[in-house]
Subunit: 246 residues, 2 copies
């Protein structure tokens, strides 16, 4: 093996190692076929081809991921809301898998850092975040099958974001709910910005919420207000049983 080849192999495997570790953190399990995930972040502007000469990009995986998200969310709503009729279930699912919501999911995981493209990523529109989130779900299905894909959606979409009361418009602000609860329970609380990131071309705020000087929840969003609301929602769910039983 030539010297140059050795360097190349080493740097490629270092790069793979980095990607593997980062992806593993997001997935919560070890990926088997790393190529599926690489594909999920490959933009068509690279004009990459596979060994059969077929173009590689995340767009086909996006189609697959969209289908998996729809069916997992459908089954979740079906079980969770036994009184909801077909129209209700359809409406709730549309809200959950809305473009805006998927963009938020992708942005929160900062998936854009993995995208390989000829076009600088800041030139992409807002939908890139949701599109690569869908592609990532498609890659998980390909790599691991339906049950693991379902678990991932459960952990990354349903648990942190799917809040039926909120979707039905019954809860307007989790921040208000939380402040009310803290005052009633005589707890101290404060929100702190721990991240204010303008490097990638758009501003991203990280906010943490502490109650009685203990960090209860963290969240990132494109405004301080949004991040506070999201952190409050997370804290609310962590405390939900406590709140409900008092």
């Amino acid at each position: 093996m030539s010297f140059l080849k050795k360097i190349f192999v080493k740097s490629r495997s270092q790069e793979d190692g980095f990607f593997f570790n980062e992806i593993e953190i997001i997935l919560g399990f070890k990926p088997i076929n790393l190529d599926c995930y690489r594909k999920a972040f490959t933009h068509r502007s690279l004009n990459k081809l596979d060994k059969n000469g077929k173009p590689i990009s995340y767009e086909r995986l996006e189609f697959l991921g969209d289908a998996m998200l729809s069916s997992v969310i459908a089954a979740h709503l079906f079980n969770k809301v036994p009184s909801g009729d077909e129209g209700y279930l359809t409406k709730m699912r549309s809200k959950i898998v809305s473009r805006e919501h998927l963009n938020e999911l992708g942005r929160d995981l900062n998936l854009i850092r993995f995208v390989e493209s000829k076009v600088p990523t800041q030139h992409f529109g807002e939908n890139i975040h949701g599109n690569i989130f869908e592609a990532l779900v498609g890659a998980i299905y390909l790599d691991q099958g339906y049950p693991q894909c379902e678990k991932f959606i459960q952990k990354r979409v349903i648990e942190p974001y799917v809040d039926i009361a909120r979707l039905e418009g019954k809860v307007i602000s989790y921040k208000s709910l939380l402040i009310e609860w803290c005052q009633k329970e005589k707890r101290t609380f404060h929100y702190d910005v721990f991240e204010d990131n303008a490097i990638t071309g758009e501003r991203l705020f990280g906010v943490k919420l502490s109650i009685d000087e203990k960090v209860i929840a963290k969240a990132r969003a494109t405004s301080k207000k949004k991040a506070e609301e999201k952190a409050s929602q997370r804290a609310y769910f962590a405390f939900q049983e406590k709140i409900n039983t008092k």
Copy 2:
């Protein structure tokens, strides 16, 4: 146990036995929870309620089945057509899960015979066939989970009906293809109507296709021409390898 109760229990279990057997033939496996399947054929006009007072009808299961069909077909197309881009895959899936196609699937299995309703079933529109087919798929998911549901869709939708060449408009008539092949191979063939059923309010033709005096395929449809085409398509797939290798 009173005499009346005994009669009731017996007739209910006879009825269950009949339903169980018929459903098992369609499913290709033994159902576990028969109630899921009963629900798939319960029309809301009956105003049935479950033990929690929630209305029972097939409509919620239809939502669930639709989602499962979409994701199984998406994965099938993804794997089967590696060169198809996102737009192509979306278009092909729409064709497969079109209302018209789902109605055909439900009609072919004659699912309407199981429907319990206050309204006579012949008063329903054409879409009842597709709707209860979707509900049946939803019931399978509930009763058996995703992998069995996937197998059923593979067997009842993909194998007999999903023909990418036809969907792409590359094949216009399987009857012509088949006749051409028979003439080339010097085989005798004939189509015979074995069923002409006008009892349920709409006419349904059953046609069998024999090649060299052996029945090769059967099909039912709303016209003789359609049933012949469908039987030809089935025969074509049965013979496909033979045709392709000659």
